[in-house]
C-alpha cells in the first residue's frame, strides 16, 4: 500500500489504475490543474531547477527524497497513509462502530463541505504567495517558498481525490470550482477570509506560514480523527508535509528577529527610526505583524458557538485535536466549556454546551501551540540581552467572527472605546507606513549563501546541505 506508482500519469498509492472511471476523471482534471499552476503558481519560476523534496512512498524512508525538479514537473499525486482494517470510529454518536470506507448518505453534504473548505485553502495560499519569489531574501528562502507552494498544490490533489472518488458529479464540479475561485477576487473569492488577504512581503509570508499554516495543522489533525477513513488517512499524510511549512514560518520570523537584535546591539539602540534606517525591521513592527496574523488566523476556527461544529463532531466527521489521547467519554453530551463575550463593557466568560463550543476548543488548543513558538522567538531576544518581549494578543483582539466580532478590545484584553481604538490601532496593527517600510526592504537576493540585510542566515541548510548550497538553479 505504501508504494507509489510513478509509472502512471498520476502517481498514487490508491490503485488508481484499477478504477478506470476515476482515473479518467482525474486525468481530465490534471491538465486544468497544470493550467491553473501555470497561471496562478509562482511567477516566473517555470524553468528553475529547484532542490525539492518529493515523496516516493509514505513510509519514513521514502517520503523525503531530495533532488532538482522543475516545478511544473513536480510529481503531484495521491498519497494516503496505510489503512487499518480494524479501525473504529472513536468519538461521537457512532463511537465503536467500524470506520466508514465510503461516505454515509446522511453525512454526504457535511463531508463535502468540510473537504471543499479545506481544499480551497490550498490553492489559495499558492495564489497569495505567487509574487514573493521576485523579492526572495536568499536562494535558501526561495527554495523553501517553492517547497511550500508545491506541497500546497499536492494538498489540493489530496482533497480533489476525495471529491472525485466519493462525491460523484457534485464532487467533480467542486473540484473544478477549486481551480476557478481566486484569492482576493471580488467576484469569485476563496471561501475563508484569511485566504483572501494579501501576502505582500516576506515578513507577512513567514507570519502566515507560522500562524495560518498552523491553523492548517489543527484542522488536519481534527480531520485525521474522522470516522470517514479515507479522509483520516489523507490528512495524516498531509500533516507530515505541513510541518515543513510551519518550520519555514517559525525559523523565518526567528531569523528576522535575530538580525534585528544583532543590529540593536551593534547600534546600541532600540529606536525604531534608527533601526529602520539601518535596514532592519524593528521589534514593535514585528509585534504588529504578529497581532494581525494571529487575530486573522484564529477567526478561521469559526464562531465560538456553532451547531455545525456539534453536528460534525457527533456524527463522527471531525474530531478534536488529539482526540485519541483525551480521557473523556468522547461524546461530550452534557459537558460544558467556557467562551468569552462582552458583558456590561467587560469581557466575561460564559458556560455553554461543550458540543456547541468545539470551534472554541480547537481555537484554544491552537493558541496554546502558537504561544510556544512565540516564546522561542523571545529566547532569541533574551539571548541577545535585550528586554523586549513579543506576545500573542488576547484572543478577543481584532476579531471578525463569532460573538466577539467587531468588539473593540485591546491586545491586553481590555474593552476600549471606539475613540481609544482609533487612537491606538496604529500601535496594535501594522499601518500603511509599516507595510510600506517592510516592502521597501524587499529586494531579490539569489547569490548562493547571500542573505538580504534584514534577515539572518539559517542555522542549518535543507537536508544537511550547506547554507550556501545552490538551492535553486535559474534556467
Amino acid at each position: 500500500m505504501s508504494t507509489i506508482d510513478y509509472s502512471e500519469k498520476i502517481p498514487n498509492n490508491v490503485n488508481l489504475s484499477q478504477d478506470r472511471t476515476l482515473q479518467r476523471a482525474l486525468e481530465h482534471w490534471q491538465p486544468n490543474y497544470l493550467a491553473w499552476w501555470q497561471d496562478m503558481g509562482p511567477e516566473g519560476s517555470r524553468d528553475f531547477d529547484v532542490y525539492l523534496r518529493t515523496a516516493v512512498s509514505v513510509d519514513p524512508s521514502g517520503w523525503a527524497q531530495f533532488g532538482y525538479v522543475k516545478m511544473p514537473d513536480y510529481r503531484w499525486g495521491i498519497f494516503l497513509n496505510p489503512g487499518d482494517a480494524e479501525r473504529k470510529i472513536h468519538f461521537g454518536d457512532h463511537l465503536g462502530e467500524p470506520a466508514w470506507q465510503d461516505v454515509p448518505g446522511e453525512h454526504r453534504a457535511n463531508l463535502r463541505r468540510i473537504i471543499v473548505t479545506q481544499g480551497d485553502t490550498e490553492p489559495a495560499s499558492v495564489e497569495q504567495q505567487r509574487h514573493l519569489g521576485l523579492t526572495a531574501p536568499s536562494q535558501y528562502d526561495l527554495r523553501n517558498l517553492f517547497q511550500v507552494n508545491v506541497e500546497e498544490g499536492r494538498h489540493l490533489w489530496a482533497m480533489v481525490y476525495l471529491l472525485h472518488r466519493f462525491f460523484g458529479r457534485d464532487g467533480r464540479e467542486e473540484a473544478e470550482a477549486l481551480l476557478e475561485r481566486r484569492s482576493g477576487d471580488r467576484d469569485n473569492p476563496r471561501i475563508l477570509g484569511a485566504f483572501n488577504e494579501k501576502t505582500p512581503d516576506w515578513l507577512a509570508f513567514f507570519m502566515f506560514t507560522y500562524f495560518t499554516d498552523r491553523d492548517g495543522k489543527f484542522q488536519l489533525c481534527a480531520l485525521a480523527e474522522s470516522g470517514f477513513d479515507p479522509l483520516a488517512r489523507t490528512t495524516k499524510f498531509m500533516l507530515t508535509e505541513e510541518a515543513h511549512h510551519m518550520f519555514v514560518g517559525e525559523s523565518g520570523v526567528s531569523r528576522v528577529i535575530q538580525r534585528t537584535c544583532d543590529a540593536m546591539r551593534e547600534l546600541g539602540t532600540d529606536d525604531p527610526a534608527k533601526l529602520r534606517a539601518a535596514g532592519v525591521i524593528d521589534l514593535p513592527t514585528i509585534q504588529r505583524y504578529l497581532n494581525f496574523h494571529f487575530s486573522v488566523t484564529i477567526d478561521l476556527f469559526g464562531a465560538d458557538q456553532s451547531s455545525n461544529a456539534a453536528i460534525f463532531y457527533s456524527s463522527g466527521l471531525k474530531g478534536r485535536y488529539e482526540e485519541g489521547k483525551r480521557a473523556d467519554d468522547h461524546r461530550l453530551k452534557g459537558d460544558h466549556y467556557r467562551v468569552l463575550e462582552v458583558h456590561d463593557g467587560r469581557l466575561a466568560e460564559k458556560e455553554v454546551p461543550m458540543l456547541n463550543a468545539l470551534n472554541e476548543v480547537l481555537r484554544d488548543d491552537y493558541i496554546k501551540d502558537s504561544v510556544g513558538g512565540v516564546n522561542r522567538w523571545n529566547k532569541v531576544i533574551e539571548k541577545a540581552g535585550l528586554p523586549f518581549r513579543l506576545a500573542v494578543p488576547h484572543k478577543a483582539f481584532h476579531r471578525r467572527i463569532g460573538a466577539l466580532a467587531g468588539a473593540r478590545i485591546a491586545p491586553d484584553g481590555r474593552v476600549v472605546s471606539e475613540a481609544e481604538w482609533n487612537a491606538k490601532v496604529g500601535e496594535w496593527l501594522p499601518t500603511e507606513a509599516d507595510r510600506a517600510f517592510v516592502a521597501s526592504l524587499m529586494g531579490r537576493v539569489v547569490e548562493p549563501g547571500k542573505f538580504a540585510n534584514w534577515i539572518a542566515p539559517p542555522v542549518v541548510g535543507i537536508n544537511k546541505q550547506p547554507v550556501d548550497f545552490e538551492y535553486v538553479r535559474f534556467g
Binding site: P60, K217, T240, H244, F247, S251, K464
Partner: protein, 424 residues
C-alpha cells in the same frame, strides 16, 4: 572497572533551539521513543533503537543530534525537558573522568553499548544494498548527472589507448582517454559515463550504452584538458566462463586515436570523494573496480603536489588474480608510501596461497579499525559483486575487534555518506 561506567552510548537528542514542536517525529517513531511536554520534544534513550525513521520526516534537522555520553549517565527525559539548548559534547577529559577507557573515547556508536562484543560465530549474510550510502560525503563537490541522455549523446575523440596489464596474460585491460573538445562534460571521481557502441544487436535494435567508471580526476586525465580516462577490461567470457565477446568492451579496447565515440552521462551522485582536509579514504577494489580508486588517488596526489593536501590517510586494498593482471601495477608502485598505504591481494599466484582483499583487510584489521573509529573516514568498495559480502564481513570484524558496534557504525556511515559500494 565497573563495566557500565566504562562504556559509552551515542545518545539520540533533539535540538530544542531548532525544533519547532511539530510532532512529526513522535507520530513517526515506530517504538514510541519520543515524547513531549509543553516545552520540549525529547527521546527516551532506553527505548530508541535507533532506527532513524524519524530523521527524514523532520522538517528542521533538529532531530539529527547525537552525543556520546557514558552509559551510566545518559540524559534523562526530565533533564531534556528542561533544556533551552543542547548540552555541549563531553570533552575527552570529561569522558575520561567518567571512567571511559581511552580506547572507547571518540568512538561513534549509537544508543548501543560499546563493549567488546566480538562475535566469533558463523558469518551471517550481509546485504550490501542495506549498507551503501545514498548520499555523498558532506564535503563532496557537486556532481552533474545526466547531461547527455541516450537520445542525445555527445561525441568524444579518442586521444589515447594503452594496455595497463602485462601483455600475453588474461584479463587484458585498457586505459582509454577520451577528449570532449568544446563540449561540457564535467565529471568527478567516482562518477561513470556511458559508451554507446555502434551498430545493432541480433534483433536489429541499436546497442545499448555500457557504463564505465572514470579513472581520471576532475581536472582531466591531463590536468587542464577536457578529457577523461576509462579502465576497460576486454570481455572474452561471461560470468559462467563461457566464451563471449563483449560488444562494448571489445569496441573500446580496439579504439584508435582519432576515433569518435558516442558518450552519455555523467552518472552517479553519491559515490563521490570527500574534499575536506584530514578526510581518510579506504578503497577496496578488484580488477577494473580500480578505476574510481585511481581517480581519487590521483586527485589527492595532485593536491598534495600543489601543497593543498592537509593530511588524511589513503588506504588501498586491491585484488587481482596475478600481479601481471593487476591494472596500473607499475604506476601504483611508484606512489610514495607516506601518501598511500597499498595492500595487494593475488588470488592465483603460482606457489602461493590464494589471497583475497578481505584476507588482507583482516590482516590489517587493527589499522582499519583505527580509521573506522574516525568520523572523517570514508570507505569505497568497487569491483565484482562476489566480493561484497566478504568485504563487509571483514569490515564488520575489524570494527568489532576495535571495540565498535558494527550496526551503529554501519548505520552512521550509511547515513553520513561514508560507505559506498558499487559492484557489478
Amino acid at each position: 572497572m565497573d563495566i557500565a561506567a566504562a562504556t559509552t552510548i551515542r545518545q539520540h537528542l533533539i535540538d530544542p533551539e531548532i525544533c519547532i514542536r511539530c510532532n512529526t517525529c513522535e507520530a513517526t517513531c515506530p517504538v514510541g521513543a519520543i515524547t513531549h511536554d509543553e516545552r520540549n520534544y525529547v527521546v527516551r534513550a532506553d527505548v530508541c533503537k535507533p532506527c532513524n525513521a524519524c530523521i527524514a520526516p523532520c522538517p528542521t534537522g533538529a532531530i539529527d543530534n547525537w552525543r556520546v555520553v557514558p552509559s551510566a549517565r545518559v540524559y534523562s527525559i526530565e533533564e531534556q525537558l528542561g533544556w533551552d539548548v543542547l548540552p555541549a559534547e563531553l570533552t575527552h577529559d570529561e569522558l575520561a573522568a567518567a571512567g571511559v577507557p581511552e580506547a572507547v573515547i571518540g568512538v561513534v556508536a549509537p544508543a548501543v553499548a560499546v563493549v567488546a562484543t566480538a562475535d566469533p560465530g558463523e558469518p551471517v549474510p550481509l546485504d550490501a544494498a542495506h549498507y551503501s550510502s545514498l548520499l555523498p560525503p558532506w564535503s563532496a563537490a557537486h556532481a552533474y548527472a545526466n547531461l547527455y541522455g541516450p537520445k542525445a549523446p555527445t561525441v568524444a575523440t579518442v586521444t589515447g589507448n594503452f594496455r595497463v596489464t602485462e601483455a600475453g596474460f588474461a584479463n587484458e585491460t585498457h586505459h582509454v582517454v577520451l577528449d570532449f573538445g568544446a563540449m561540457p562534460f564535467p565529471v568527478l571521481e567516482g562518477q561513470s559515463i556511458g559508451i554507446v557502441p555502434p551498430g545493432a544487436d541480433a534483433s536489429g535494435r541499436p546497442h545499448r550504452a555500457r557504463q564505465y567508471s572514470v579513472a581520471s580526476p576532475r581536472n582531466g586525465e591531463r590536468p587542464g584538458y577536457n578529457n577523461v580516462s576509462l579502465t576497460v577490461k576486454r570481455v572474452t567470457a561471461d560470468h559462467q566462463g563461457r566464451a563471449v565477446k563483449g560488444v562494448c568492451s571489445n569496441y573500446v579496447c580496439d579504439l584508435k586515436v582519432g576515433d569518435k565515440v558516442q558518450v552519455i552521462g555523467p552518472f552517479g551522485t553519491s559515490f563521490l570523494m570527500p574534499n575536506h582536509p584530514r578526510s581518510n579514504i579506504v578503497m577496496i577494489c578488484t580488477g577494473t573496480g580500480s578505476a574510481p580508486m585511481r581517480a581519487m588517488t590521483e586527485w589527492r596526489r595532485r593536491l598534495r603536489q600543489g601543497g593543498k593536501f592537509e593530511g588524511g590517510k589513503l588506504m588501498l586494498f586491491f585484488g587481482a588474480r596475478t600481479r601481471e593482471e593487476l591494472p596500473y601495477f607499475g604506476p601504483l608502485m611508484s606512489l610514495p608510501k607516506d601518501f598511500i598505504d597499498i595492500n595487494l591481494a593475488f588470488s592465483r599466484t603460482a606457489g602461493q596461497p590464494k589471497r583475497h582483499v578481505q584476507d588482507l583487510m583482516r590482516e590489517r584489521a587493527a589499522d582499519l579499525a583505527g580509521l573506522l573509529q574516525q568520523s572523517d573516514t570514508y570507505v569505497y568498495v568497487c569491483g565484482l559483486r562476489a566480493m561484497e559480502e566478504g568485504v563487509l564481513l571483514a569490515l564488520r570484524d575489524a570494527a568489532v575487534a576495535g571495540g565498535l558496534s558494527w550496526d551503529a557504525l554501519a548505520d552512521a556511515m550509511r547515513r553520513e555518506g561514508r560507505l559506498h559500494l558499487e559492484t557489478y
